[in-house]
């Protein structure tokens, strides 16, 4: 695939992610911070989000597995996950965290388990999509092209 075609695919794929609510405007904010002095910023901060999320999802699974569920602790973990997903623009993950916190408040274990499933699902979806996006970007750059996200998003 030649560079122009790849660039078009990249932009269309990104547009779809916004349209389908996977990403929100905060993701565009990240791109505003990426420049020659910080060329890998988006990948770096998203990678931190992946690490944070995986750790938190594991902690949530353990916490819900306990005989006496500590809803305060669970809420604290979900709050963290809501924070990081919000900071990078992972809208659907953030929204699933909001529902999760409602179940915590209601001290509803069943509800929490369902919410955890939902959060896991949304996380895996956005992870796959962003990784695909980053791979495509790499190929474009390797082929001598470039992505001017900021110009396009604005």
């Amino acid at each position: 695939m030649e560079v122009n075609q790849m660039q078009r695919s990249f932009l269309e794929y990104t547009a779809a992610l916004f349209r389908e609510g996977f990403l929100d405007s905060q993701f565009s904010q990240l791109h505003q911070l990426q420049d020659e002095s910080n060329p890998e910023f988006v990948v770096e901060v998203v990678s931190l989000f992946f690490e944070d999320s995986e750790r938190l999802i594991n902690d949530l699974s353990s916490a819900l597995d306990q005989p006496n569920v500590d809803f305060k602790k669970i809420d604290a973990h979900v709050h963290q996950l809501k924070g990081s997903s919000s900071s990078i623009g992972a809208q659907r993950v953030k929204d699933s965290c909001i529902s999760f916190r409602n179940s915590c408040e209601a001290q509803n274990t069943e509800g929490c388990l369902k919410c955890l499933q939902q959060v896991k699902q949304e996380y895996l979806l956005i992870k796959n999509k962003l990784e695909a996006l980053f791979q495509l970007e790499k190929r474009i750059v390797a082929a001598g092209g470039s992505i001017n996200m900021v110009e396009w998003i604005n």
Partner: protein
């Protein structure tokens, strides 16, 4: 020391890079705030919790650490509100209680922006309350203020 011989002593000519201490227990958020600040020409030191922030500033419980002068070089502290152990609000109080640090502006960031929380922080002397997620425009505004305070 003046590099150019210009007689125009504009506000910008004498501003050093503001040194900001950024405190947040969420590593993704910490990376974001750090980059936003560096992008706005600030020197940034990060801390993952209130205790580490106090130790850096020389306000920690460790008496030997209290002999450092990091605190006097910090121009702004920006901290998350919700942190385990010591909240941003508690950190704000400790800073305002310190004779060395009490005049350093403290900005609180939070994803929960209830009027109660905001007022509580402002009453305790917080300079500003910024809702999360942090955006480029938030930091730009802050940076403009720092330029004015610099002198």
């Amino acid at each position: 020391m003046e590099v150019d011989g210009s007689s125009t002593k504009g506000l910008l000519n004498h501003i050093e890079k503001p040194h900001v201490l950024a405190v947040d227990d969420n590593l993704t958020d910490l990376k974001l705030v750090e980059t936003l600040l560096k992008n706005s020409s600030c020197k940034v030191t990060t801390a993952e919790n209130g205790l580490m922030a106090l130790e850096y500033l020389g306000l920690g419980n460790d008496k030997q650490g209290s002999l450092n002068d990091n605190g006097s070089k910090v121009n702004l502290i920006i901290t998350d509100y919700c942190m385990p152990g010591m909240t941003g609000y508690e950190l704000l109080k400790k800073i305002k209680e310190s004779s060395v640090m009490k005049n350093v502006p403290v900005v609180i960031m939070s994803s929960e922006n209830t009027p109660t929380r905001i007022n509580k922080c402002l009453e305790e002397g917080a300079h500003m309350f910024i809702p999360k997620p942090l955006k480029y425009s938030d930091v730009k505004k802050l940076r403009c203020q720092l330029m004015q305070w610099g002198n």
